[in-house]
């Protein structure tokens, strides 16, 4: 087990994604400043945080490696980890602790996991998709690595506000869905805008020689969506929630196949 620095005089930052503020406290001022820069645009005032995490930093060479993410629930507490971080979160107490090195990717992973669990409770999800707002409505472009998520973001015209080029945040509010901007950036290396908009459509991306939009069956849409939703937890209740969330989404939001050739004209179809 790595030796850990116990926080003494701590400072904190509150990072609000999807309208859900999470406070991260640490005694390492350099790490804190890094968080403020990395999540610029998503840092809010610290008065209304809904979860508090103490971040305990270990020496850089003691918590390394990737491997599979582990997310498990025991006695109402979530335990999650990978080679480079370990975290525990008690939802009832709205408190948790993260042990990691100063690697910013570690805290990013914890935030993603926590948000997938929060969203699963309310019918939303994180999904491998770029997303953007045009004319007050949000559009998602889903696909695996190489499908064209970042390309769609790069091709977006000036009137389009980018929410993310990698991981989209879909929140359910009764029978409607909203997409939020996220700091979870992909190859574009740029944070999304911290705004939200009602979801107009989700497009399943395919690269081709022409631009066209085609209908997909409900079953195909469900399969594709489920393949792209982030679900880290090996937990029956969460898996059921994610499955139901995906099926509900398919029944309520238009899902189409977007075949596109990588030039800006594809955005003429997204209105």
């Amino acid at each position: 087990m790595a030796s850990l620095n116990t926080p003494s005089a701590t400072a904190d930052v509150v990072i609000e994604i999807g309208g859900f503020p999470i406070r991260l406290s640490t005694d390492d001022t350099a790490f804190l400043e890094m968080l403020k820069v990395r999540y610029a645009g998503f840092v809010t005032s610290g008065e209304n945080a809904r979860i508090e995490f103490d971040v305990m930093l270990a020496p850089a060479d003691t918590m390394i490696g990737n491997g599979d993410v582990r997310v498990e629930r025991e006695s109402g507490r979530w335990s999650m980890g990978r080679g480079d971080f370990e975290a525990d979160w008690n939802p009832r107490a709205a408190r948790g602790i993260i042990r990691q090195s100063t690697n910013p990717y570690s805290i990013n992973s914890v935030l993603r996991i926590v948000h997938t669990l929060l969203l699963a409770e309310q019918g939303g999800f994180l999904v491998h998709a770029s997303s953007a707002v045009r004319n007050g409505r949000a559009f998602l472009f889903a696909g695996v690595s190489g499908a064209g998520k970042t390309t769609m973001a790069r091709l977006a015209p000036p009137d389009v506000a980018l929410l993310t080029d990698e991981i989209s945040y879909v929140s359910r509010e009764e029978d409607s869905y909203h997409a939020y901007g996220t700091p979870f950036a992909g190859d574009l290396g740029r944070l999304g805008e911290n705004i939200r908009a009602p979801l107009a459509a989700l497009y399943l991306l395919t690269k081709g020689t022409e631009n066209k939009i085609e209908p997909v069956s409900a079953a195909e849409a469900s399969r594709a969506l489920l393949e792209n939703i982030l679900c880290f937890a090996r937990d029956s209740e969460v898996v059921r929630s994610v499955f139901e969330a995906a099926c509900d989404f398919v029944c309520r939001v238009p899902i189409r196949r977007l075949t596109f050739t990588p030039d800006a004209r594809v955005w003429e179809m997204i209105v």
Partner: protein, 106 residues
């Protein structure tokens, strides 16, 4: 598989009819299955108390214009595969308590 077999849906799955296809996800590991119309009909009728032969006769042969012998053989294969993945439970007696059955089957 015996002549008189009963099938029940597992309690460890989530399932939803999407269009013409039944989508099924195994809760423990997120494995996703899609059933065609015939398999969906069997799955929907798998209440643990109706014999498979009756399900095939009333839900498959009546709907899909296929002979009982052929349909039953195909149905047994489908049931065997789904049971192997934990989607269905199979017994030669009516299944009224799936959880209890699972313990006996072990």
């Amino acid at each position: 598989m015996s002549e008189k077999c009963y099938v029940a849906r597992s309690t460890k799955i989530a399932a939803r009819m999407m269009g013409d296809e039944m989508m099924i996800m195994l809760a423990p590991d997120s494995t996703l299955f899609t059933l065609n119309e015939v398999a969906s009909a069997i799955f929907n009728a798998a209440d643990g108390t109706t014999p498979l032969e009756v399900i095939v006769r009333e839900r498959v042969c009546a709907e899909f214009d296929v002979e009982l012998e052929v349909a039953l053989k195909d149905a047994q294969q489908v049931v065997k595969e789904l049971a192997g993945h934990g989607v269905l439970l199979v017994s030669d007696e009516p299944i009224t308590k799936p959880r209890a059955f699972a313990q006996v089957a072990r």
